[in-house]
Symmetry: none
Amino acid sequence: MIAEIISIGDELLIGQVINTNASWMGELLNRNGINVKQIKAIADDKTAIFEAINASINSVDLILLTGGLGPTKDDITKHTLCEYFDTKLVFNDDAFARIKKIFRFRNFEVTDVNKAQAELPESCMPIINSNGTASGMWFEKNGKVLVSMPGVPFEMKPMMENEIIPLIKSKYKTPIILHKTIMTQGVGESFLAKKIEDWEDSLPSNIKLAYLPQPGIVRLRLSAIGDNSEKCEKYIAELVEKLKLLIGDIIFGYDDILLEEAVGQSLKLHQKTVATAESCTGGYIAHLFTSIAGSSDYYKGSSVTYANEIKEKMLDVSKYDIEKEGAVSETVVKQMALGALQKFGTDYAIATSGIAGPDGGTLEKPIGTTWIAIAGSDGIIAEKHHFGEHRGRNIRRASLTALFMLKKVVEGITSLQ
Amino acid sequence: MIAEIISIGDELLIGQVINTNASWMGELLNRNGINVKQIKAIADDKTAIFEAINASINSVDLILLTGGLGPTKDDITKHTLCEYFDTKLVFNDDAFARIKKIFRFRNFEVTDVNKAQAELPESCMPIINSNGTASGMWFEKNGKVLVSMPGVPFEMKPMMENEIIPLIKSKYKTPIILHKTIMTQGVGESFLAKKIEDWEDSLPSNIKLAYLPQPGIVRLRLSAIGDNSEKCEKYIAELVEKLKLLIGDIIFGYDDILLEEAVGQSLKLHQKTVATAESCTGGYIAHLFTSIAGSSDYYKGSSVTYANEIKEKMLDVSKYDIEKEGAVSETVVKQMALGALQKFGTDYAIATSGIAGPDGGTLEKPIGTTWIAIAGSDGIIAEKHHFGEHRGRNIRRASLTALFMLKKVVEGITSLQ
């Protein structure tokens, strides 16, 4: 099955918004055995939408449109599709019920513009949007499918995953593609490639490998293509086992699990609790922990001690040591971790202190220098890392590194002594 | 002048790489008065390149191609363009001199594949690549221009800025486009549209308005097209003034400033400091503050008191009140803010307590119920909000709402009494 993605929105053409939707969809489609032939970004305008559909409808089986479905005047897709498919808008009671529910929940009155969102083209099959007021629309004509979705990522993504992909799979035959994603942390893409070079060269022709780097994390995606699902699974399992022998120490999980979720699972399993004392990471580790539902079972809180006097006051760090060794030092980061362990009364505590940048670097402690400590009842360990020059990425890398250190401690892979 | 961007590369279609090149180019072209009609991403393959050019060459004046010019086998653009423009490759001495210089600088021998990069289509004008071995190519045919560039961002960007844009400007007349982005927080897209309906209806035809929503924030982008830059600026300034009368209370800044940056600027200007006491936002406000370089000037830290006993211990919240009123209550959130004010010794303190979800909601306090308090030496205020059902978005919306509340307090728009 061959697909095209058409992203509608002037903001994409003038570079105000980067088209991350299309990449996300491309990845999802590819993973489901659907070949993306082309991605197009076009203007929020009737002629452009008509032209884009006409230019592609004969060379693909499926067109996925996003954008232009909001309630405001600059949104035009629905009317254009009505004209294109020679149909008319009809009021859809189910869609209106969902809109009302969303508004009731937010304690707002339904406005006329929102009510108008319940009007949908007669010839389409509406697609449920669980996160917003604009329904998706599934059109079929001459054996081709066109699906229109909102451009808001958190509305589009669940629609793609929960509604559209299952619909495609139920209606069309797609080849069997099995994927296994290996989540790694701590080693950059090119070094990782070097480490697994021989393994990669030995991959059989029906197995594909993709490197999917994110800041601080590299996902390795193995895809097996075939007509026998069990065989594919066996192939992949064997390859993962071999890979674990090479890079087992940097694998924190599989299949797109978040590191913060994996750590949370370990803490839950071992019935342990944790608190954080954050300087350079500035609350980002706390945010990662608490972004996972149910984290209150194991995460108790954080002292974000951005200022030195707060490190003294809140975590009993020695003023003398801060002056003598500097806040970015093994001594101070260990005192922070011990302070947090005692104040929060948890089984473990994480502490970070580093120079996130862009200022504050010295010859001896350049930007990116970061100390991380993990304390527990058995003892304490600290590691010094050198990340990069970019503030945001330093914060993220320091936080992920700290979480992974904790995971290994909780699981007994690293000892605190 | 109307342009199309064609990005060549399989990695774009399977979502392995996000097409940031095209956004960057779109922004640059738009800023220079060149209208981008369409952005396309296509496969690294001769047929796809032919089809993409043929589909667009009649409807645009300029096609900008990136990608497929490297020395490896999967790069195919140059040969395809030779065929398309019915020309042949000739060895270019200047291009070879630049390749040799780059290799000398890197201390490498020039290989045959790299020497082959000095072979360029006879009918094109080569474009200098100061950062790599693949020259750009400028073709003209029947009044249309096609430019091919490498896809490596640090090679493409200087080529665009230093060679291609000046060439276009010297050869073609381009109009003036001015943009102004108005940043708003606290009101959803549809309500905002309702509020500014009459203003929007009165916009002259040379002014375009776009709603650009993000979780918790809506950006309004005004674009003025004309031939006189002063006039365009005056138009936009007048429209913004009128808009301020309508929705001044939800505007936190202009031109893509982040709310956390705008609050930081206010604190700096008024020489005030702040700390946070976070329950439901779980450190996200701390993270937003500390993601801004230089925030240590005004941000002192956070007590992320996720567990109730930690609220008591770290912020002196009354155990009795937590039991009586619940942690998500005006009484508790105010005690948290006052606790943080006292513990951190800052001018202001923000506190949050709410039910982020997906669990923990009750009939009386459904998921999304959030109390936010701001304390200062003049007094304390607290607001109750109802956000949505989605944990991540609740955390973000609560944090942004709290930051904006603080900004208004710091600027004297809201009184603490």
